[in-house]
C-alpha cells in the first residue's frame, strides 16, 4: 500500500469535484425563484397563508399543544421560537425561495414558501385520470 496521504491525482479529483460543485451551485441558484406566499400547515392541513412582503410575528398552535413563533421579516420567513425540545426548526434558518420549507416534527408544523402563479398552474387540470 502506498503510504502517501495525498497524491497528485487526489488533488485533481478534488479540484474537478469542486468545479462540478460550482456548476451545481450556479444551476440551482439560477433556477430558484423567490416565493410570494408563506403557507403554514398543521398536521397535514393547510391552516394559514401570509404574503411574504408584509412583516409579522405569529404564534402557531401546533399538534398536541405545541407552539412555534413564525416571523416574516424583509421577505424572509423563519421560526423564532419553538416549544419542542430539539429546536431543529429554529436552526433551519430563514427561507424565501419557492418550494423551501421549515418542518417542526413534534408540533407537525410545516412552513412552506410558494409563489401564487405556480399554485394556479398546478391545479389547472381539465380532468384527472387514475
Amino acid at each position: 500500500m502506498k503510504k502517501t496521504l495525498l497524491r497528485k491525482n487526489d488533488i485533481y479529483l478534488i479540484g474537478i469535484l469542486l468545479i462540478i460543485f460550482l456548476f451545481i451551485l450556479g444551476g440551482v441558484k439560477l433556477t430558484q425563484k423567490g416565493g410570494t406566499e408563506v403557507v403554514v400547515s398543521i398536521d397535514g392541513v393547510e391552516a394559514y397563508s401570509f404574503p411574504i412582503d408584509e412583516d409579522l410575528e405569529f404564534e402557531i398552535s401546533g399538534y398536541n399543544g405545541g407552539t412555534n413563533i413564525l416571523v416574516i421579516q424583509d421577505r424572509y420567513a423563519y421560526l423564532k421560537e419553538a416549544s419542542c425540545p430539539d429546536k431543529l426548526c429554529v436552526h433551519m434558518g430563514k427561507i424565501n425561495k419557492d418550494g423551501q420549507s421549515i418542518i417542526c416534527l413534534p408540533n407537525r408544523v410545516v412552513v412552506e414558501i410558494r409563489s401564487a402563479g405556480k399554485i394556479k398552474s398546478e391545479h389547472d387540470y381539465d380532468t384527472v385520470v387514475g
Partner: protein, 182 residues
C-alpha cells in the same frame, strides 16, 4: 491469517462500524432536508426527512480500513451488516432505504476507484463521501416524490468533499499503522 481470524476481525470491524454509526446519531443533524409537498405530510415521511443531513461519516473510516487492509468483499459486507443492524436497532424503514442506497453506492465507487490504483486513500474517501450523499438524495427524491430536495445537493456535495477528505486522511493514518500478521 486463518479463516477464524478473518471472521473475528470482520466481526470486530462490523461492531466498530455500528458503534461509530451510533455515536454519529447522537450528533444532531442541523441540516435536515425539507422540501416535502404539503399533501405528503405524513409522520413517517417527516421522520425520514431528518435522516440525510450533513454527517461526518465516521463509519467510513472502518469501511476504508477494511477496504485497504482486508479487501473489497469484506468492506462491502461489513457495511451491509452495519446498515442492516443499525436500522433494525435504532432506525426506521425510510432511514434504512437512505442508508442502504448511500452506503452501497459509495462502497461500490470506492472499490472501483481503489481498483484503478490512481488515487490514495484520501481521494477514494472523497469520492465515497460525495456518492454517499448523492445516493441518499436520489432515493429521497424517489421516495418522497419531490424534486425540491435537489436544492440541497450543493450543500451535500461540498460537505461530502470536506468530510470525505477529513475521513480519508484519518483512514490513511489508521491503515498505515495496522499490521496484519500472516
Amino acid at each position: 491469517m486463518s479463516n477464524t481470524q478473518k471472521v473475528a476481525l470482520n466481526g470486530a470491524l462490523a461492531a466498530l462500524a455500528m458503534i461509530l454509526s451510533y455515536v454519529e446519531m447522537q450528533i444532531p443533524a442541523f441540516f435536515a432536508v425539507p422540501g416535502v409537498k404539503l399533501g405528503l405530510t405524513n409522520i413517517v415521511v417527516l421522520v425520514a426527512l431528518y435522516v440525510p443531513g450533513v454527517k461526518l461519516g465516521l463509519t467510513n473510516i472502518v469501511v476504508l480500513v477494511a477496504l485497504y487492509v482486508l479487501g473489497e468483499k469484506n468492506a462491502f459486507f461489513i457495511n451491509v451488516v452495519r446498515i442492516v443492524v443499525v436500522s433494525i436497532l435504532f432506525g426506521n424503514i425510510m432511514g434504512f432505504a437512505f442508508s442502504i442506497a448511500g452506503g452501497m453506492l459509495s462502497t461500490l465507487v470506492m472499490i472501483l476507484l481503489k481498483k484503478t490504483s490512481c488515487f490514495s486513500v484520501t481521494g477514494v474517501s472523497v469520492a465515497g463521501g460525495i456518492t454517499h450523499n448523492v445516493g441518499q438524495i436520489i432515493v429521497a427524491m424517489i421516495l418522497l416524490n419531490t424534486r425540491a430536495i435537489i436544492w440541497y445537493l450543493p450543500v451535500l456535495w461540498i460537505s461530502g468533499i470536506i468530510s470525505g477528505a477529513v475521513i480519508g486522511i484519518v483512514g490513511a493514518l489508521v491503515c498505515s499503522r495496522i499490521v496484519i500478521k500472516e
